[in-house]
Amino acid sequence: MPTPPPSHPVPASKSAAARSGDGATAVSARKRVAPSRAVVRGDQGIKITRAVTIRRPAELLYAFWRDLENLARVIKHPVTITRTSDLASHWSVSAPGGGRVEWDAVIINENPGRLLAWRSREDAEVPNAGTVRFDPAPGDEGTEVTVNLEYNPPAGKLGALFAKLTGDEAGQQVAETLRRLKALMEAGEIPTTEGQPVGKPQSKRQNA
């Protein structure tokens, strides 16, 4: 089955509307599908594409992702995601030195089992937008999950903070998120050594 290109608007699903218990939500989402201007202009900002193949059905992966608060389990950096409506969510990311970067995001396009697209609300300090696609992998080997993310780092102090937070590592952070999602889905857990025994001097540092 051909996959709709990410830029092609797909009506919000009935199931999403049913989940929210409010059909109007989906309609309002569709209104946002064609914004008057791009979140990040074509010639600006930072654009990232990362992909991973996961040996699980697209529907299962989509359902995990669509329940946005789940993403806090697989994003390695501490993040708080609060769903404020079926389509809207609030994101809060801690930055080094105690600062926080916060924004509201809204799902602007969804095709269950295939695609989700979101963008920050217009007043976001760090305008960002993204899509995640779930495509069948060749040979019945699960699902290719592809994330496209773009953001526009602001100037000034906040921009510096955001740069410090993500730096050149934004792509790495997306890759790490996908890696951890894959481990959770294929292995049932995310690999870790946090809390294992270790000799001095590391143990002293841990206990300090």
Binding site: A183, E186, P191, Q202
Partner: protein, 388 residues
């Protein structure tokens, strides 16, 4: 518990550390009854592996008794006796599903580090640097074993530890090296560079697989004697002018059908600076590989169980290309071999304890590392007793 900790180049220490605990639902905890020092641990001891940190617990050849299981462990029970393979595999990814266990996608928490160097990360290893996951190793009284239902093999007879301990690494590693040689029973001639523990198992495995002749190359007398005892012809490369001439003489001029490099390179290349730092050493250490590349016959197989992880220079790739040589290599796909090799042991076809030359308490591990590293006292393989 007591554990052997890496404290810097040529500095090992037995420390008292916390006991391990279950961290993930598929973990188990093993009380270790026997553990060993691997030749590849000497790369850590000699300080050639980057991303080691002082206090890291070493060891990847261990066995013992399950004393605790996580909530998602289905097959193993408290009280089971197990040997633990040195690679950690999830059992659920693309590679595990193809029996490429050492290429597992999902067990290295630091995969991005290795990815930056190699393009992709393989399975995590116990006690083998943070590049390979940073998991605490098994030269200790207890170890945490992730994916307990995937890796460990249950030993359900009262066969002694020493006969099955080496299922954890060196027997499967030597066996896969021999299997990679595409041996035609009764016809193939296999040459093995390096008569350390992996070379010894490669020699015996090649003969078990039907090799007509195995020729072992080393310069350590006691290792050559052990190779001979295992059925190999030997060449002491210090006593001959030209190893290639000797190999040709022993193979009717055609050359060995397969060449096994069980030496590897001392230095694991990694971050660029470290590679530069170690290149001088690599010139010597890649000597066996270069010689094997030139010695193997046309259309033959080069099998590499010896560990390489960085860059090597002056590789005669033209020789490999010109002769149409097939190269097979990589970390051992351990989980493939555990059951069939346990059967070989239990059927009496091989007793892996032949390789043990030293048995010492865990607390004496630092001295044992030194003895092993310097090949003092005819040391070939050290087994540590965590209870002593």
């Amino acid at each position: 518990m007591k554990a052997v900790c890496w404290m810097g180049k040529k500095k090992m220490e037995v420390q008292t550390v916390d006991d391990p605990r279950i961290l993930n639902p598929r973990d188990c905890i093993v009380r270790i009854t026997a553990t060993a020092i691997c030749g590849s641990d000497l790369h850590l001891y000699d300080g050639y592996v980057p991303t080691m940190e002082k206090g890291d617990i070493l060891g990847h050849e261990f066995m013992g008794e399950v004393v605790e299981v996580g909530p998602e462990v289905k097959k193993l029970k408290v009280g089971d006796r197990v040997v633990v393979p040195f690679t950690i595999s999830c059992g659920g990814c693309f590679h595990c599903s193809r029996q490429q266990w050492s290429c597992c996608d999902n067990t290295n928490p630091n995969a991005s580090l290795l990815e930056a160097i190699a393009g992709y990360s393989g399975a995590a290893l116990y006690g083998y640097s943070h590049l390979y996951g940073g998991y605490a190793g098994g030269q200790a009284q207890y170890a945490r074993v992730p994916f307990a239902d995937v890796g460990p093999i249950k030993i359900e007879t009262d066969i002694p530890d020493e006969k099955v301990l080496f299922l954890s690494d060196i027997f499967p590693t030597g066996y896969m090296a021999a299997e990679n040689c595409d041996i035609e029973p009764g016809r193939s001639v296999v040459a093995v560079w390096g008569c350390g523990p992996v070379g010894q198992f490669a020699i015996r495995s090649a003969l078990l697989l039907g090799a007509a002749k195995v020729i072992a190359i080393d310069n350590v007398p006691e290792r050559l004697r052990m190779a001979e005892a295992g059925g190999a012809m030997t060449i002491n490369h210090d006593e001959v002018d030209d190893v290639l001439d000797h190999l040709k003489a022993l193979t009717g001029g055609r050359g060995p059908d397969a060449a096994i490099d069980a030496v590897g390179m001392e230095a694991h290349g990694s971050a660029y600076d470290q590679v530069k730092q170690t290149l001088k050493l690599e010139n010597d250490r890649a000597y066996a590989l270069r010689q094997a590349m030139r010695a193997v016959r046309k259309g033959g197989v080069l099998s590499v169980p010896g560990v390489y992880s960085g860059f090597i220079d002056k590789v005669p790739f033209g020789a490999v290309f010109g002769k149409g040589v097939t190269i097979k290599q990589g970390q051992t796909h351990m989980h493939r071999y555990l059951r069939p090799l346990l059967d070989l042991i239990q059927d009496g076809k091989i007793d892996p304890s032949f390789v043990i030359t030293h048995r010492v308490p865990l607390t004496e591990a630092p001295a044992a590392y030194q003895t092993f590293c310097n090949k003092e006292d005819d040391c070939i393989k050290v087994v540590l007793d965590p209870a002593a």
